[in-house]
């Protein structure tokens, strides 16, 4: 919806007076409406005079529907997102289109989004492929193989501690190696890199890697064993699992992953980097920038609500996303973000951790200028939104006695 930028293409058929009219329309309203009117002109074969009346009416209706000055859009947006929250299911897991992948949805996910959590509880990516790879399952699999993270554990048939010799033995599985397209040397190299060259002995004939751990305690060795199992050999880090699925609407093959690594995936050939995305908003912010993160917040929130069959206007979510990102970094909705960084002392004290804010304000000699809502409620004054925006006062005077 709103997350797509609307491409403005010049329609060569539109020229002269009509173009002028449309330009006027766009100036008065917005591009979305111009494009719609352009469509309709063609559909109904409107004449020039007809176009003129239509445009006049469109502008009139558009102006009628504008937000009025003073409107408390923030409160309305918060209510519009908060109220359906009560109707949402709390059930955490849902299938995200693919039966094999579970994704957190519903209220917990919505809270995760507004909390701007660093890591979503179920990180997942939707990887679209370029035209060359998205028609055939085989080609999609090729890309998937390149992406899937392979650890030592996943190509080894056995990893064990030999207490007698103070060694850790890794027995690699030839079949698995072949299947995952990893060579023995690659694995050995990675293990050497992590554990130090001197300690690692590789025996390519036996598919054995041995690590000397002379002088370590058993506990330490066990910790090391776990570490060794997790050594990253190939593929994009954190992409734990990939499910290949055919998108029935678009008829193309799409990859769904468990775990995210946006920068790595975007770099991989075969991936359509224009459409590929993740549900980790912070990752989007760090790789694609804050504007992309803002769109991601909108998309994710909208997706949660739509999945539950709840109607919420995208503009409300846009406002929340914009508020979370307008400073250039993602800020949480709550104590550690927007509410905690408000300028007004009283507003902060009125939300959470009351005393801390009062003490800090006193020592720094802050002045609360009473510009927000809570502050004015606290001192008992009219709140500066809606009808309270207007600063005109009528001085009531009694009229003279009526003539009898």
């Amino acid at each position: 919806m709103g997350s797509k930028t609307i491409q403005k293409e010049e329609n060569p058929k539109i020229e002269g007076k009509i173009k002028e009219l449309l330009d006027h329309l766009e100036k008065e309203t917005c591009i979305k409406i111009r494009l719609e009117v352009e469509d309709k002109i063609e559909k109904y074969q409107l004449s020039e005079t007809e176009i003129e009346t239509v445009i006049k009416e469109v502008i009139k209706d558009y102006k009628k529907a504008l937000v009025e000055a003073g409107e408390a859009v923030g409160i309305v947006a918060a209510q519009s997102v908060g109220e359906p929250g009560t109707q949402m299911t709390l059930r955490t897991f849902h299938y995200a289109g693919v039966a094999e992948l579970n994704v957190t949805l519903g209220l917990p996910r919505l809270i995760e989004i507004v909390d701007a959590r660093k890591n979503p509880s179920t990180p997942t990516m939707t990887i679209y492929l370029d035209e060359e790879h998205n028609n055939e399952e085989k080609k999609a699999k090729e890309v998937a193989k390149k992406l899937e993270m392979i650890t030592v554990e996943r190509v080894a048939s056995n990893v064990e501690i030999d207490i007698a010799t103070y060694q850790i033995n890794i027995k690699l599985d030839e079949k698995l190696l072949k299947d995952r397209e990893v060579t023995f040397e690659e694995v050995a190299e990675k293990v050497r890199g992590k554990m130090g060259k001197e300690k690692v002995q590789a025996n390519p004939e036996k598919f054995m890697i041995t690590i000397d751990l002379e002088g370590k305690t058993f506990g330490e060795m066990q910790k090391l064993l776990e570490k060794i199992e997790k050594i990253h050999v190939k593929g994009a880090k954190d992409i734990n699992r990939i499910v290949i699925q055919k998108d029935l609407n678009k008829g193309e093959w799409v990859l769904h992953t468990e775990g995210t690594n946006l920068p790595e995936v975007l770099r991989t050939p075969g991936v359509d980097y224009t459409r590929t995305t993740t549900n980790n908003i912070h990752e989007i912010a760090s790789t694609l920038g804050i504007e992309a993160a803002r769109n991601a917040i909108m998309r994710e929130a909208m997706h949660v609500l739509e999945e539950q069959g709840l109607n919420v206007d995208i503009r409300h979510i846009m406002l929340i996303a914009d508020l979370m990102t307008y400073t250039g970094e993602i800020r949480q909705i709550g104590r550690h973000g927007i509410s905690g960084e408000k300028e007004s002392v009283l507003a902060r004290a009125g939300f959470e951790v009351t005393v801390k804010h009062l003490l800090e304000a006193s020592i720094a000699g802050h002045i609360d200028e009473l510009k927000g809502i809570t502050e004015n409620v606290i001192v008992g004054q009219i709140v500066p939104v809606g009808t309270g925006t207007v600063e005109l006062l009528q001085i009531p005077t009694f009229s003279k006695k009526p003539k009898e």
């Binding site: 937000v67 992948l101 914009d322 909705i333 509410s339 005393v355 009062l358 003490l359």
Partner: protein, 887 residues
């Protein structure tokens, strides 16, 4: 009550109180720990000193001379024998001690560094108006050097032992830092250095964080209560202050007597403990001060903090007069913007009315009616502010005669007065709407059923609140912005939230069915109920008796000029819509206010159905017309369904033997399939789904089969054995209530019960109940209920059903609290955002959040289900109709 605010608070400044200001504002130095003498009179110089304000009714304050309500209370003070550290600032003091020099008290940074940091600080001040905590933190960290760059003395390490004890790590070992010592250290800090440490020296010198004088709060904030037995019970704060004074006294005596420093030290520590707990009784590291009963004292911090604290409970939330609360009940005869107010309530709630030369006669009559009559007056307020309570007036005539312009009377509310009506939880703005009062007998609030959805109200004991706006501005705002019909369109999605529900929808469905025909008498009765007074159209059937179709009757109350098409609830979404010739009559078409075809149901009239008829009427004819339409539609539909009759009972879910056999067969077949699946799983022949284990695959497939069982059984019943006139089917079909699933559960089979989205699997070891063999994963052992609600559940099934039901209950309970907290945070973060005159969206301090709201500046509540302009509609109305006219 004056219309003009006389004073405005422009800003509130925060700062620390200097010892001098504390002394200056004090009206009494408190010296004795006793409160009252033997006669029960407050002791002068005690904590209940009369100069601190009064709490006894009738008594006058010794400082200001006012009585209880008017006297604001006055502070006293205690001179402390030794300074005491403010707990809240212990951490900051620690940071400052580490950043400044032990000898010369200067911030341990070179001049250049200071200059550079000061520059940065000023820059952030300019940009954000406040000191940037990041810069300050950096200053405090950087200055932790080991030698002072000014006096070059070596710095000892300072240690803070929580909450308030400081140690200096000298070469001879740790040495305790006394409060006097620390205070001296802080006193020497330069003002310029303060600024860098985030302290505003004009409002808060660092040494003021250590108390030498303690302000004693006025008695009004720590009132003592006299119990029935005559025993006085003091406030927690008073108790704490008594402790402080007692120890302070002892400490002073000991110091003066030159007692050993060990004793003085101990006493000082005790004083510090009491001062600490006076401020905050939940500091970690020390035991909270307790009442004799063992209850922890509620001291200053506790008073402010949390949901029940001063801020959230008393400052952000306020109590009001002129409000009422009672149970609600339905009344379909009221308009949607009316509310029935019980007479008893109406006689208590009042509206002020100014006496003028134009209304004096009417008001005199009201005054004569007095406070006991339904339309009467409770008070008369004279221009000098004197209030006359009419309850105690014998001769109302003289009062009525004395009325003159500029008098104000407080009259009872009467029909047509504005009432703000509210139901908690107030989750969105439609939770408070303005209604017109309608004074009625009996003791409940009455409301039209169509406004239930916005309030989310039902009548199982719900209570609601009414508030009476008192001033002109309040009334005007209520009338123009909050009236029910102005809220028909929800700002959440730009569609109607008010509309027909439940029986209204059933009734509309029955009335607008193709085969509903009404005789003249019936038609006239319905139209009379609806308030229609125009002529009858020509009857649709002339012979043998003139008959009118239900569609014709409904058409009469649809506004003339309404054109719309829409698909009904029972639309089958055929590939090509046959439109007017729809076999299910699901294509609703209204032309010039006439219902040409289609059944009216939830999609057309229901609440929360965007783009329905109510939506179109609001958009094209305005909200007042929509209100009229809803009112007369409601009455028409109620009249129809009460004549038609509609109910359901057990016989409506009883089906033929044959049908029961079919259901049994379907379920048995599916259960067999499940057995087959389990067999193949045990033989490890089951084909795994990608990315799933065999167990998971089996579970998924079993669940699939069993849900199929219920669905097909339900499907078979509804399509083959159910009378189309079955009331449950009608309700489901029209969307009034219930669904095909409910129907299937009642007639065919309740189906799989689940907990946490899985078949029920917990209970005993490897089995759900002792009735099954361990490891049984068959359908019945895992919560499949094959009985129907009609047949009744077997005990085991009943248990599983209860398990599933319990999860649902827990879920709702948890959900309300988590979603409530989320909404609180959302509101708090977004509340200051508003649209400015230039169309931008800004926060309280004027930062631009959006240049245009929602990228197009459109208010969703004025939009058409999110769309700013309905271009099709414009073309239809301004082009296509004209084209036709030409032809």
């Amino acid at each position: 009550m004056s219309l003009m605010p006389t004073k405005q608070v422009e800003a509130i400044e925060f700062g620390l109180m200097t010892p001098d200001t504390i002394r200056k504002m004090s009206v009494a130095r408190i010296i004795t720990a006793d409160t009252y003498d033997e006669d029960g009179l407050p002791i002068t110089g005690g904590l209940m000193d009369g100069r601190l304000g009064t709490i006894e009714p009738g008594q006058r304050c010794k400082t200001c001379g006012n009585r209880v309500g008017e006297c604001p209370g006055h502070f006293g003070h205690i001179e402390l024998a030794r300074p005491v550290i403010h707990v809240g600032y212990a951490k900051l003091i620690y940071k400052i001690l580490r950043a400044t020099c032990r000898q010369c008290s200067r911030l341990k940074l070179s001049e250049e560094e200071k200059k550079e940091l000061r520059k940065r600080l000023h820059k952030t001040m300019k940009l954000f108006g406040q000191t940037e905590t990041k810069v300050v933190d950096e200053v405090l960290k950087k200055a932790r050097t080991e030698t002072c760059p000014y006096c070059e003395s070596k710095q000892n390490k300072i240690r803070l032992e929580k909450p308030t004890t400081f140690y200096e790590e000298t070469e001879e070992g740790p040495k305790k830092l006394g409060s006097l010592e620390i205070r001296e250290w802080l006193e020497k800090i330069h003002n310029e250095d303060c600024e860098l440490m985030g302290i505003n020296p004009e409002k808060a010198r660092p040494e003021w964080m250590i108390w030498t004088v303690l302000p004693v709060p006025p008695v009004v904030i720590r009132p003592s209560i006299t119990l029935e037995s005559g025993v006085r019970s003091e406030d927690d704060l008073t108790h704490k202050l008594v402790d402080i004074i007692r120890i302070n006294q002892k400490l002073r005596e000991n110091i003066e007597a030159g007692a050993p420093s060990l004793i003085v030290e101990d006493l000082w520590e005790l004083l510090q403990y009491h001062a600490t707990t006076l401020l905050d009784n939940e500091v970690s590291g020390i035991p909270p001060a307790r009442h004799r009963s063992g209850r922890a004292l509620r001291t200053l911090t506790q008073r402010l903090k949390g949901k029940e604290g001063r801020f959230r409970s008393n400052l952000s939330g306020k109590r009001v007069d002129f409000s009422a609360r009672t149970v609600i009940s339905p009344d379909p005869n009221l308009s949607i913007n009316e509310v029935g107010i019980p007479e008893e309530i109406a006689k208590i709630l009042t509206v002020p009315e100014k006496v003028t030369d134009w209304n004096i006669e009417a008001l005199k009559r009201l005054v004569l009616a007095g406070p006991a009559e339904v339309e009467g007056v409770n008070y008369v307020v004279r221009p000098d502010g004197r209030r006359i309570d009419l309850r105690f007036v014998r001769d109302k005539q003289t009062i009525a005669d004395s009325l003159e312009p500029k008098y104000i009377i407080e009259r009872h509310i009467r029909d047509g007065d504005l009432v703000l009506f509210n139901r908690q939880p107030s989750l969105h703005r439609m939770s408070i709407m303005a209604h017109m009062a309608k004074i009625m007998p009996h003791r409940t609030f009455r409301l039209n059923l169509c406004v239930c959805p916005p309030y989310n109200a039902d009548f199982d004991g719900d209570e609601m609140n009414a508030h009476i706006p008192q001033g002109g501005e309040a009334k005007a705002e209520a009338l123009e912005l909050m009236l029910v019909q102005k809220q028909i369109l929800s700002p959440r999605y730009g569609g109607p939230i008010i509309g027909a529900i439940q029986d209204y929808i059933t009734s509309a469905f029955l009335l607008s069915k193709k085969d509903t025909f009404l005789k003249k008498k019936e038609a006239c009765q319905l139209l009379l109920a609806a308030g229609y007074s125009g002529p009858l159209p020509p009857p649709e059937v002339a012979e043998p008796e003139p008959m009118w179709s239900g569609k014709q009757i409904v058409s009469l109350i649809i506004p003339k000029g309404l054109n719309m098409t829409l698909k009904a609830n029972n639309c089958r979404h055929c590939e090509t819509c046959k439109e007017e010739n729809c076999p299910y009559d699901a294509y609703v078409k209204v032309k010039d206010g006439r219902l040409i075809c289609g059944i009216l149901d939830r999609k057309t009239l229901g609440a929360q159905q965007p783009k329905n008829m109510i939506h179109r009427i609001v958009k094209e004819f305005g909200s007042d017309e929509a209100r009229r339409f809803l009112d007369s539609l409601g009455k028409l539909l109620i009249a129809f369904i009460s004549r038609h009759g509609f109910s359901m009972g057990l016989r409506d879910i009883a089906v033929l033997k044959e049908a029961q056999e079919r259901i049994r067969a379907i379920i048995e077949e599916k259960e067999k399939k499940v057995l087959v699946l389990i067999k193949s799983f045990e033989k490890r022949e089951l084909e795994r789904l990608p990315g799933r284990t065999e167990e998971e695959t089996l579970e998924m497939q079993i669940r699939q089969e069993l849900s199929d069982a219920r669905d097909t059984a339900g499907e078979v019943i509804t399509s083959e054995y159910l009378n189309p006139k079955n009331p449950i089917a009608i309700m489901a079909k029209s969307g009034a209530r219930g669904s095909a699933l409910n129907l299937a559960q009642m007639i065919a089979c309740v189906g799989q019960q689940s907990v946490r989205g899985e078949r029920i699997s917990r209970g005993y070891k490897n089995r759900t109940l002792p009735h099954f063999k361990p490891g049984d994963i068959g359908s019945k052992a895992r919560g499949f209920v094959e009985s129907s609600f009609r047949k009744g559940l077997a005990p085991i099934e009943f248990f599983f059903h209860a398990s599933g039901g319990r999860e649902g209950l827990v879920d709702t309970a948890v959900r309300t609290s988590t979603s409530g907290y989320m909404q609180r945070r959302l509101i708090n973060a977004l509340q200051d955002l508003k649209a400015e005159y230039d169309g931008t969206i800004r926060n309280a301090i004027g930062d631009i959040i959006q240049f245009k709201f929602g990228e197009d500046g459109i208010d969703p509540s004025k939009s058409d289900y999110g769309k700013a302009v309905d271009v099709d509609m414009i073309i239809e109305n301004f082009v296509l109709t004209k084209r036709k006219e030409k032809v």
